[in-house]
Symmetry: C2
Subunit: 268 residues, 2 copies
């Protein structure tokens, strides 16, 4: 018999839509075959897999992979699946995953040459998109600092398109302590701000980006906290060539991270 | 007496939430003081301005500017304002604007050095974001080609953050005809695709971007139509340094447009 929305394990998993329950259990939900595949690729991450019979049949490789790793795999009804997922077309699969963030010290010990810091960014879609872009640009770590969104928020997980499972994710408290640790690890710390005194193109032309770098990004509405901007090694603005007053966060982060990626690529 | 949701002019304006009525009347809605300010900066664009008494008082400069341009300004109740707007906090103002797209020939006659083509992009948020990024990167024209979203869709207008009023917006039918016209105007036509045989960094290193360029962007789900990719001068991929399978549309467009902006900037 497939599990229904009232089956205790479904009820328990469904509570993970709430941050309080994610924090208390150290678990979160990842929905859809792409996310489930990425999660299964990290041994020990998936705690439980739910799927409609049709989806488990269609993705028999994923069900087999889970079973081989001793992950419980359970049939659920369409109603139970709907209760466990947040999107209109979740494609029949959802995994309960274990939190996978690592301490800052561990992430830095791996020697990343490119790091993104999301400082006080509260919008989960923006945070997940920057996480995806940071992964694409080759960042080794993405740090959620200060009062930032929960990286395991469903919308953030979905916007990351699997990248949550690719890079070292760090949850850190005080952003100033993060900057100190980044600098101690030998990274240049660059703050992005529309009011920066350094133009991104000029930095690139001066070959100043061909060094291990951590980028600080703030929220679209409020920018970076002043104290954080002040302690960075440089305050960098993305040039505005037209009449737009600003870029949105995802676009600004993409331009900055890819400027670093390009500079670092030529210096292996 | 302020207008209510049942006042005929409010009823008529409210219909502009629907594409059919926008197409039939050639008008659309722009909400919030920022958009209203940008719209008023283009003479002849605003046909009518509605605001709550508090908002018209708070933004007396905008009300005065409208009145000076013979634009009717009307008080509306909170309920009428809510009926005319789509966001939770519209800040009390909404303008009925005249469509402002121009024919492709007119946009090309202005000699833009950077152009973005949104080919069959149906998501209004994505389209508006790319429009904003194109403006920031200095693009002179943004072309909505083929079966693309209506640029006057409320979500697109909001995501553009005013850029709809800054650049030449073109609505074109056949994307293949657009490519032919772009090429005839002397622009290099570059198609962005995850399967491109040219790496963006390599193009930049080869100084191939320091020439007037039109970028073709397709939808995140479906990419560019094959026929369109085939006729471009080059098929370009944004390099993926990490393990992300792709970038989202807004990030990819930001990286490509800013690569061109940087190359063109050094060649005034």
């Amino acid at each position: 018999m497939p599990f229904t929305p009232r089956t205790p394990r479904v009820v328990a998993a469904r509570r993970l839509h709430r941050r309080r329950d994610r924090d208390a259990t150290g678990r979160f939900l990842a929905e859809g075959p792409q996310a489930v595949r990425e999660a299964l690729a990290r041994p020990g991450t998936v705690a439980e897999l739910f799927g409609t019979p049709a989806a488990l049949d269609r993705h028999a490789d994923l069900a087999a992979r889970a079973a081989a790793d001793d992950v419980p795999v359970s049939d659920v009804t369409d109603d139970a699946l709907a209760a466990l997922t947040e999107t209109v077309a979740p494609q029949g699969l959802v995994a309960v995953c274990r939190h996978l963030d690592v301490p800052l010290s561990e992430a830095l010990a791996a020697g990343p040459r490119l790091v993104a810091v999301l400082a006080e960014i509260r919008d989960p879609g923006n945070a997940g998109t920057v996480l995806r872009t940071a992964d694409a640009a080759g960042a080794g770590a993405v740090i959620f600092a200060g009062d930032a969104v929960d990286p395991y928020n469903g919308k953030c997980v979905r916007a990351s398109a699997g990248s949550l499972f690719h890079v070292d994710v760090v949850r850190a408290g005080d952003p100033l302590a993060v900057v100190a640790a980044l600098r101690a690890a030998g990274l240049a710390v660059l703050a992005t701000t529309g009011y920066g005194d350094r133009d991104l193109d000029d930095l690139a032309d001066a070959d100043a980006l061909a060094t291990p770098t951590a980028w600080l990004f703030g929220s679209e509405a409020h920018g970076l906290p002043d104290g954080l901007t002040a302690v960075a090694d440089a305050r960098v603005r993305v040039p505005l060539h037209g009449r737009a007053e600003s870029l949105n966060l995802a676009a600004a982060a993409a331009v900055c991270l890819y400027a670093s990626a390009r500079a670092l690529r030529r210096r292996p």
